[in-house]
């Protein structure tokens, strides 16, 4: 069965420090992978996605993620965290549809809550 694991429930980093949020997935084929960010009471904003090609994906707000097939991972990174990055981060995998090409649904991890210390 498809699943997404985000092993870190809560992470605190200092402003200006680097960040890595972990994501592991279980999926039988090459997955579509996504990172979303959610501020309190708000919707989901797409940070970046991986469909195919270059395994290092650049996203918005200075985020990047690397797809490592051998490790079934898609970790999110940022070299220097800003106070405004404090939010909850969700990794998701897109399951392929029986229609071919498109995905049927997203399966989300449980999220990592990021706190940023001044």
């Amino acid at each position: 069965a498809q699943s997404v694991t985000q092993p870190d429930i809560h992470i605190t980093v200092s402003e200006g420090a680097s960040l890595e949020l972990r994501c592991n997935y279980s999926y039988g084929a090459t997955p579509y992978l996504f990172w979303y960010v959610q501020s309190p009471g708000q919707g989901l904003q797409l940070l970046l996605k991986y469909f195919s090609g270059d395994t290092l994906v650049q996203g918005i707000k200075g985020f990047e993620a690397e797809f490592k097939r051998s490790q079934s991972s898609f970790n999110l990174r940022k070299p220097s965290v800003h106070w405004s990055d404090a939010a909850e981060y969700f990794c998701a995998v897109g399951a392929r549809s029986s229609y071919g090409g498109a995905t049927n649904k997203l399966i989300f991890g449980t999220g990592t809550l990021l706190a940023v210390q001044p």
């Binding site: 996504f34 919707g43 989901l44 969700f90 229609y99 049927n104 997203l106 989300f108």
Partner: protein, 112 residues
Amino acid sequence: EPEVTQTPSHQVTQMGQEVILRCVPISNHLYFYWYRQILGQKVEFLVSFYNNEISEKSEIFDDQFSVERPDGSNFTLKIRSTKLEDSAMYFCATYQPNYGYTFGSGTRLTVV
């Protein structure tokens, strides 16, 4: 940038009442979804909708739930008889190949 619009942003209803959550998808997207997020928990898939029919639904999506696209633009989620445990944020999303998913800002449903 194209948006998915959800209304209302917040709805309070009494247990046992019917509620309809509305979504206006991006016009050229063909795949539509509802997800929900109970407070403090992860986002869960409810149902996917393609070509005017349900293509997949989760265990959560029981007989109390239904979806339709009544006028070719709106995409609605109906809960026939709400329960306390239906309180959650409900997200509508659309998908287009090579573009990806776009989520609405959500409807917070509170059942009292």
